[in-house]
Symmetry: C2
Amino acid sequence: MIGLVVAFSASAQQALRERPTVASPIVNENMTATFSLYAPSATQVLVVGDITAQGYAEMTRDDKGVWSYTTPEPLAPELYTYAFMVDGVRVSDPGNPFVVRDITTLFNMMLIPGERADLYRVNDVPHGTVSKVWYHSDKMGVDRRLTIYTPPGYCTEGCSHYPVLYLLHGMGGDENAWSELGRTAQIIDNLIAQGKAEPMIVVMPNGNIALQGAPGETSLGFAQPTTQLPHTMDGTYEESFLEIVDFVDNHYFTIAEKSGRAIAGLSMGGFHSLHISKEYPEMFDYIGLFSAAVRPMGRTESPIYEDMEGKLAKQFALNPKLYWIGIGVEDFLYDLNVEYRKQLDEAGYPYTYVETSGGHIWRNWRIYLSEFAPLLFK
Amino acid sequence: MIGLVVAFSASAQQALRERPTVASPIVNENMTATFSLYAPSATQVLVVGDITAQGYAEMTRDDKGVWSYTTPEPLAPELYTYAFMVDGVRVSDPGNPFVVRDITTLFNMMLIPGERADLYRVNDVPHGTVSKVWYHSDKMGVDRRLTIYTPPGYCTEGCSHYPVLYLLHGMGGDENAWSELGRTAQIIDNLIAQGKAEPMIVVMPNGNIALQGAPGETSLGFAQPTTQLPHTMDGTYEESFLEIVDFVDNHYFTIAEKSGRAIAGLSMGGFHSLHISKEYPEMFDYIGLFSAAVRPMGRTESPIYEDMEGKLAKQFALNPKLYWIGIGVEDFLYDLNVEYRKQLDEAGYPYTYVETSGGHIWRNWRIYLSEFAPLLFK
């Protein structure tokens, strides 16, 4: 039997031929982390990412050609992303097969557990289902891809009706961004298990209306992702958004009324959430603007962006249950948000405001989701 | 507005800060492929993978420090996987964000279209839904993760009942392997669209019964994947398999009878398919053994592996509609399969046999699925 075991180990799947020679990263007992790379002929190796305040650290070479770096201080609980720079060439950590794509670039992932990062982990709690689903867009004349989370217990013993959070990504993102970089399924699973959030469906559409789905997931094949997409902030998406709501209401057991619908998004997705929710003021009772762009770009003659004041007046006259704004103090959109809040204040429209440290980064968007979701559908 | 565009491009998501400087890979008009990497201080760069017969090729450096390699001949239509070796260090192609994990190792993906590779592409055809679903295993006392494909039209206008293919992975694989490396959703979508396969549900479980799910997807966190798992070929999985069938029959609109069930798998999954189908001879009418291990490993005293001859006699007395065996002539399990076919021949049990070139590789397993699926449920 041993012979067969060896044969399997040697060639069972193609991957087994090549193994990382160095374990990396290692989270040490004191919650520092050590990153290592075997690169004997390199002259400089950096680890880059949010593990250091300045965004990178020099690694040092031992006499066997292994470069390593240990953080001088314990790392705060968080989901970190990093990569290596080997003599100026950016590479993934070959010791770490856990990667996530952020628009055009792969990052390795590492999680320091504890505190809020425990919301981002898979814990031994009941898990919802994450599905990749295609709906037909009459407006665009094509099928388009959605990520849909249904909560634990969805249609297991009969089908109850659930509220729906529509959760929108930023420019260059796609329908995978919130579930992968945003850890949506983990956050919602954990919040539900802790009794902090209501069981809900989360719908994560693709906000790049010119595309059918994420890079690699459509008939464009493995084409290079691009952020220069037409129609992403010119009204087309907002005009067609109710197609998605209709699809979800027709195919899932939803609470198909204003009190059962939330819409939130990050950056461009915050922009979309703002404009969709004011365009259809009877559709959403919960609105979340995460590091939101506020003003239109591109084809601003879209009727979507006309009469913003009048539409906001209509929306707030209908008393949405929650209008939530979150932004980091270092965000390049901070001033725009100050200005927008001033507009809301002057009109006397109530909203909840959360300010965090940091800028336009996923760390903040995971925090915002973790704070926003418990406020919904109560 | 330009200012905002620039700000977005510069920092909208973290990824935008770092961009690959070299486009790679490029599929040229004549279907050769060019791989490139900027690595000015490297002394040797290889491209490794199945793009060359010997598994690697030397890249050459230009005066700007860009290493490149163009295949001397057009590549046959296929889904290829590759990586770079920079002075002995294995790295992913920073120009190509499309990667797939095979057990412990990341590979970049590249697809040369045409012929059978068009089955592996996302084409503009109706798409099924791919879901990550958790079931409870009473046997193991834990929740475990499944990948489930439901075909286009599943429960869109009322719920018809569909047959189910249970599709099992190899040692070290997981519930993601068939959908990612095996391109199952693409193959089944395309075969259904061409009228070659019946609409079916495909259930891809995790065959490592000691685990709840794939690396990174359970409470083990981002722990290094391992192939040294207990209980993978000692009968435990086979003994508990009907839990999965029950879950699927209870939660999906299935044809819950022998004529509506197929089971197939690669390598260890072929072994599992062989033993599950003979253990429960009234459950599966279609059996597929892809590069199958045949004989038990580990705890061979399991009742599952007792009286193989008697159980096969019972299974074949019930006339399964298809018993399908596929293997490559270079597979290290080839001789075992010759021996097993001899046993079937001597007993007079009918089966379909397909022999391909190559060995124990995903190229073959995608071919086998593409050949096997059209024979099911007819």
